[in-house]
């Protein structure tokens, strides 16, 4: 039979354990709190914005000039800028990223893999301001030698550099997905006399497709949210165009541009950055949830 002291000790122990679990749970809830904070700050200021500007004007006006004397609040030029740079970035990053992923997962010998994977990680860790500097001082002047009509600030050069920035993300996430496909599926293909390429294209890639698509979506989300490269090299001139050779402005760059100046708190110009921020948040939110669900589905398939 246990004596009193032992009972007491056991009771205290249980209370202590309970407290720790509560505390840890509180920390886990913190992330929900952050999301709540993001949403409420964005919503609060955005509602203030839409008291003065109609939603229809915001979505249909083709000019964005909130800092000028004659004010227009159409977000389309910023969205077209974002879309243009993202499209250029993806047309660079998708093929290179996917081919690298297939190579690393299916072809590369161990020494190459051991050398390449950390290098890709370093490439992913290069601060984006460095990529911005690179776009402005190296890529744009080099492109101008081939395309004389290219403006000093344009969508093409930051788009290409952003693509290079996204390659490691797509490559490593796709490689994870390809690598997780059971070896038995591959062996089945080889047993039928298929080459590595045939096995990759007809067995491994289809089996890993949800993971690969998820990596694309997360790449898009990164491109849409990238700020510094476009702020430095794309020109900060909102323009409704799909011409990659002229200066444009993306949604992120607009927020950065207004923050650089001294916009007083509470003005309409101050609120515009939150309205743009809300649009940006919604866009990336949809992309992130899609990517998350696809990855989860993929994990459940093979792990």
């Amino acid at each position: 039979m246990l004596n009193r002291a032992a009972h007491r000790k056991r009771f205290l122990q249980r209370v202590y354990e309970g407290l720790i679990e509560r505390a840890l749970f509180g920390c886990a809830l913190f992330s929900v709190l952050i999301t709540g904070g993001v949403l409420s700050v964005l919503l609060f200021e955005t509602l203030g914005f839409f008291k003065e500007v109609s939603l229809i004007a915001f979505l249909t006006d083709t000019q964005w000039t909130p800092l000028f004397f004659e004010k227009h609040f159409g977000i389309l030029p910023l969205l077209s800028g974002t879309f243009l740079v993202t499209a250029i970035a993806l047309s660079v990053a998708l093929p290179i990223g996917l081919v690298s992923a297939i190579y690393i997962s299916e072809y590369a010998s161990d020494p190459i893999r051991i050398f390449v994977k950390p290098t890709l990680e370093i490439l992913a860790a290069v601060p984006t301001i460095v990529y911005g500097y690179f776009a402005l001082t190296v890529v744009t002047p080099q492109l101008q030698r081939f395309i004389p009509s290219l403006s000093g600030f344009n969508a093409l050069s930051p788009g290409i550099v952003m693509g290079i920035m996204i390659v490691p993300i797509i490559a490593s996430l796709s490689e994870d997905a390809l690598h997780a496909v059971p070896i038995g599926l591959r062996e089945g293909g080889y047993a039928l006399g298929a080459t590595r390429l045939q096995v990759v294209l007809r067995v491994v890639l289809p089996a890993a497709i949800s993971g690969v698509v998820a990596s694309f979506i997360l790449g898009v989300s990164r491109a849409v949210g990238e700020t510094m490269i476009v702020t430095i090299a794309a020109g900060l001139q909102p323009r409704l165009t799909l011409n990659p050779l002229v200066p444009i402005e993306t949604a992120t760059a607009y927020i950065a541009q207004v923050s650089m100046g001294d916009t007083p708190h509470g003005t309409l110009a101050y609120r515009t950055i939150f309205a743009v921020g809300t649009s940006l948040f919604l866009l990336t939110f949809v992309l992130n949830i899609m990517g998350f669900l696809l990855r989860k589905r993929f994990r459940n398939l093979y792990e």
Partner: protein, 317 residues
């Protein structure tokens, strides 16, 4: 893999269309793809090399003691990064203090304690989403919440809190992965010895996962060091003619007022120099980037080393 080894000697006439289509072409395509794949993979390495050489060529001559120990200046050859790197150091220290305990505790809860229900699913999807939110949005949150609402101003503390929001989801994700890699048999053995859940977590699971958690922390912090956009959004100054946090011990025991002063960081200073038209400032930017590179490479190297050593020594998997 051996399955595609050497071309087998065709037993049939190699010029026969069917042989060509079924046996020779697929193998040629396979070889071709191997070459394309290798060049695509090496391309990213090449870009990294070009980038590095370019910055090295532009900035190395400017990188000297005077550059590291001077305040910013209107004259490019007298300007330096003293306030910037001290600011970066303070910012990272504060961010670590705020973000890491919360993030690790959250990861411990989600991996070791959480039961499968709607709430934990919701938390999980929230964290995954937060890790993908553009960093400038965190800047807007910092601007609305810390700078305005909590009235911290454009201060070191507001900056650190903003960066913490960025670091927390990343560290939660990597720490969870490290905890998940600890085999269940370790937990079961601990329970079998009569340990409670917290004792198991505290003395078995957490120590076993420490190298993985540490790797994730280093990577997340090295990303945070290079972050520019959120700090711009909260309005970090670019001209700071004093050392941030210099008055920490000016009053007994600690004077926290100095955390409410404006600050600058390395990436902000670099951005300021990049956006000026004069060539001499662009050289300064390159020199600043070299310092930033050095820090990032060192931290990533540390992470790679930690992981390598852990892989060698781990008793399982």
């Amino acid at each position: 893999m051996s399955s595609s080894g050497d071309l087998p000697k065709p037993r049939l006439d190699p010029m026969h269309a069917k042989t060509l289509r079924r046996h020779i072409l697929p193998r040629l395509k396979d070889r071709l793809f191997a070459m394309v794949g290798l060049s695509a993979t090496l391309l990213s390495l090449l870009v990294l090399a070009v980038l590095f050489m370019d910055v090295l060529g532009d900035g190395l001559s400017r990188l000297n003691w005077q550059f590291i120990t001077s305040y910013p200046s209107r004259k490019p050859d007298q300007a330096g990064i003293l306030a910037a790197w001290v600011g970066t150091g303070w910012l990272m220290g504060l961010t670590g203090l705020i973000a890491l305990p919360i993030a690790i505790a959250a990861a411990l809860y989600m991996e070791e304690y959480a039961k499968k229900n709607i709430l934990t699913d919701f938390i999980e999807i929230t964290v995954a989403n937060l890790a993908g939110v553009p960093s400038i949005i965190y800047g807007l949150l910092g601007l609305g919440l810390f700078v305005r609402w909590m009235n911290l101003g454009r201060s070191l503390l507001a900056g650190a809190m903003t960066l913490s929001l960025l670091v927390i989801p990343a560290v939660i994700l990597s720490s969870r992965e490290a905890l998940r890699a600890v085999p269940n048999s370790i937990r079961e053995a601990s329970y079998a010895m009569g340990a409670s859940q917290w004792q198991t977590v505290r003395y078995q699971v957490f120590p076993a996962a420490t190298p993985g958690i540490l790797t994730g922390i280093i990577l997340a912090m090295s990303r945070a060091i290079g972050e520019t956009a959120p700090l711009m959004a909260i309005g970090a100054l670019t001209y700071v003619g004093f050392l941030p946090g210099r008055g920490l011990f000016s009053r007994f025991p600690i004077n926290f007022d100095c955390l409410l002063e404006p600050f600058s960081t390395l990436p902000i200073q670099i951005f300021n120099w990049v956006s000026r038209p004069q060539k001499a400032f662009s050289v300064n930017a390159a020199a600043g980037i070299l310092v930033l590179f050095l820090i990032t490479f060192m931290m990533n190297g540390m992470a790679v080393y930690l992981r390598y050593r852990h892989q060698k020594r781990s008793r399982w998997s």
